[in-house]
Symmetry: C2
Amino acid sequence: MKRATLKEVAQLAGVSTATVSNVINSKKYVSSEVKQQVFSAMQTLNYQPNTIAKSLRKQESRIVGLLISDIANPFFASVAKGIEKELADNDYNVLLCNTDSSVERERENLEGLIGKRIDGLIVSSAGNTGDYFRSLEETGVPIVFLNRCPQFMNCDVILTNNMRGAYNATEHLIRHGYQRIGIITGPTSLSTGKDRLTGYRRALEDYGVTEQEDLVKEGRFDIESGYEKMKELMEQENKPDALFISNNSMTLGGYKYLREKGIRIPEQLAVIVFDDPEWAELVDPPVTAVRQPSYELGMQAAKLMMASIKDRKTKHDIMYMDPALIVRQSCGCPAVS
Amino acid sequence: MKRATLKEVAQLAGVSTATVSNVINSKKYVSSEVKQQVFSAMQTLNYQPNTIAKSLRKQESRIVGLLISDIANPFFASVAKGIEKELADNDYNVLLCNTDSSVERERENLEGLIGKRIDGLIVSSAGNTGDYFRSLEETGVPIVFLNRCPQFMNCDVILTNNMRGAYNATEHLIRHGYQRIGIITGPTSLSTGKDRLTGYRRALEDYGVTEQEDLVKEGRFDIESGYEKMKELMEQENKPDALFISNNSMTLGGYKYLREKGIRIPEQLAVIVFDDPEWAELVDPPVTAVRQPSYELGMQAAKLMMASIKDRKTKHDIMYMDPALIVRQSCGCPAVS
DNA sequence: CGCTTTTGTTTAATCGTTTAACTAAACTTG
DNA sequence: CAAGTTTAGTTAAACGATTAAACAAAAGCG
């Protein structure tokens, strides 16, 4: 069954298409008689306006692209949920693109999205430079960067205060008297990876602890590299007595290794992790975590986006959300402070 | 900066729009001279075809709607990832709609998607009847139901073999000698909830165990109800000695309660859960789980969708994916068999 | 050399809306 | 009551692509 068009509705109601359009969008004043006619015509034809045609004419798609590395990562899933909610409330839809952290796929997806004439893009880029976003930006499409901070562009950025989160975590470990505090960090090509590492370093500095090079391992924010790096750390001469892990996925990998080897937490190794997924309090032992407000992060990103699209906001912000340290049992006795 | 149109490219290249179109889509034979001209014009104007116009003309959007209850649930997140991957490989995009299990929002979203003229819909409905999908189906848009089985419609359905999964889990508990095997099931208005309950019952029957009404609790597939129902079970006279929990979220809630009360698994309560999220082997104790092939489920759903869209497949399938029982430590000693 | 066929390109209609510009009727108003 | 204003609705041109049909030039052919 073909869908009815506005024209057909107009014919049936015995009016012009313009009038039908006006009725639908309640633009101009239309007599209630005619309105009734139109409504009933719409009813009988089961008319549903064609958004594509509308988009073409109005030059807006009411679609926002979402470019993220891994929707299966609970952090991103939660972010996506926040974004979807906020956008839906404003009658915008989300086009989901998963990049698997591949710059290649990111670029391809971006091209597709440009073609689709998205009204905005929310992105947590896999790349470090992000120069290929330029061509989108130049056409006036607002971009919100999520937990990634491109150097040069004039667009909104929303970030967890990664440095502070990492600083607090490290500080916590220092205050508990740990001497050899290691870190499994993310790719330093990403601002999240870099900032968390910086936070860790600042804390060490501030407390006069000298950094030990072999206690700093760079992973790839995924499960496998978490396992690998944990292995490296625990098999080397100079083992850490405490460890800060930079995200949830690497924690899964790391914990896996520790479990296999029967290494006890926190007796043999104290652990604090960045991200606070729902399983954090159920693993053995419950893990002390730096919680990013992921859902709120998504909502805020979407709000910034709406402000750019609807209110034509052109002054762009960089917005920090503060993470919270949730102390559980993986980081040593609740002493000192 | 306005985006260039095909017309402008044509002008610059000194040819007609039809020719440019032909070059882009390599439809008809175009002399390589002209081709060069067109390409270079496209280059200098930084031309990106407008998909919206194309959609309108060709009457296809190359967008598939995805309607799910909660993208933050790792099961759905993984499903979504599989769908996105498979669709992207076929040059289709995913429009993500989160319904929060609200039939209301589901209906609203559906309307929006119809307006957007999606080429297909993949849905894990929150409702039981799903009659409002009819209007979409009638226009010839293929629908794939995911883990939900509407009675009447002529569309593809892809299901985890919920009954078998639940049966196997229950059987496993019975064979380990448990006497009072309980279940926290999902809403029986959903086929997932119902089928898992049925599987549980069949197993009991087959082994001549009589069902005890007060050991069967119906949750809502979310964390809160998991906590509630676990509480009810463990505070009543007739406590279970083993429990089958119907999904991952309710497990989180249930485990939370057990941890609070210091109830030991499996000594005081053996547990098997449906779904095998990434944290399953890290919680204390690692949980025996019925693993649904979530990513593959998503991929298959997308494949069915592509078959319907591209190959005009009209004969529709109901496809079962078999879950696997992953035995860990939460369900008693690895004895018997 | 004329005739058909092939090749390469153009013309113009179309997809389903919105909206600026226009019109005709009804209503004010001095 | 003539002139201006308001009201309620129509006409037709966009938006940016695709594509059937038309066409001109070149090639093939006896």
